[in-house]
């Protein structure tokens, strides 16, 4: 098994890197400050795509888990993809919480508020942290795959709860803004909406790159563990004989 990442992954990584550099320029220099929030609103260009990426990562984990659970499609790759995507999701959920806290301080006047959106997002973070811990518990690959796939599907229930929490409960966190027809949102000029859309695009590229590298790493770890097991069995057999 080759230990190198493919050319496609490298191109994806370069594209993600360049896009993130361009995003920094758009978000910090080109886009105008918000009329009400001033420059603090520039955190939106990281907070929103980080949250989007967390949803995407956990969705991929859920789909890969279903594909593992269905006997006809069961493959180790689905189990490893589920784990790789969940890990990236946890990183970005953590970032979402930290960036939200930094944005909340100047706009809400507090670092943390136990409102529905913030609390359910924190629950999401710990649910998937638990999922990652579960992946490290000793078991055969089959047992681990099934156990973790079920856990991933249970944890995924929290994703729509996080998303709809702002409409189901009264929250300090604002409602869905961009795609909410009830709110007459006025973006200032071209650069503000463009930068937000570009940020989502750049973060999605980054996710695709990270998940491919993380999956490669997981496959290598899996291969090494199998090899070590085979060597240990061979040694044991040699001693017995």
């Amino acid at each position: 098994m080759s230990t190198r990442v493919g050319v496609g992954t490298k191109i994806l990584g370069a594209a993600a890197f360049v896009s993130l550099g361009a995003l920094a320029v758009f978000a910090l220099v080109v886009a105008p400050p918000d009329e009400r929030q001033g420059d603090a609103q520039r955190l939106m260009y990281l907070h929103v795509p980080a949250a989007w990426l967390a949803y995407l990562a956990f969705f991929v984990t859920a789909v890969a888990s279903v594909l593992w659970l269905v006997p006809r499609t069961r493959s180790t790759t689905w189990d490893l993809l589920a784990g790789a995507s969940a890990e990236i999701g946890v990183v970005f959920t953590g970032l979402t919480l930290v960036l939200g806290s930094l944005w909340g301080r100047p706009t809400w006047g507090t670092w943390w508020e136990w409102d529905a959106r913030v609390t359910t997002t924190a629950v999401l973070f710990f649910l998937y942290l638990g999922y990652l811990a579960l992946r490290r518990t000793g078991a055969t690959a089959q047992e681990r795959g099934t156990r973790c796939a079920i856990a991933a599907l249970i944890a995924f229930v929290d994703v729509p709860i996080v998303h709809f929490s702002v409409t189901w409960w009264e929250t300090l966190h604002q409602e869905a803004t961009v795609f909410n027809r009830d709110l007459d949102v006025q973006f200032e000029g071209f650069w503000m909406p463009f930068t937000l859309i570009f940020a989502v695009f750049a973060f999605t590229l980054l996710y695709a790159f990270l998940v491919m590298v993380r999956l490669r790493l997981a496959e290598l770890d899996e291969g090494r563990e199998e090899r070590q097991l085979e060597e240990a069995i061979a040694e044991r057999v040699a001693v017995t004989v």
Binding site: L99, R105, L220
Partner: protein, 40 residues
Amino acid sequence: MDDNWGYVVAGYVITIAVLSAYGGWMWFRLRRARRADLDH
């Protein structure tokens, strides 16, 4: 320049630091795996 730039800079620096650390950790593990593969 308003007073909120500190929060903005903190947010961007934390994001860069976290992503660099995570990317660096993966790069280190890949290198180690490659070396182990060569030794094998």
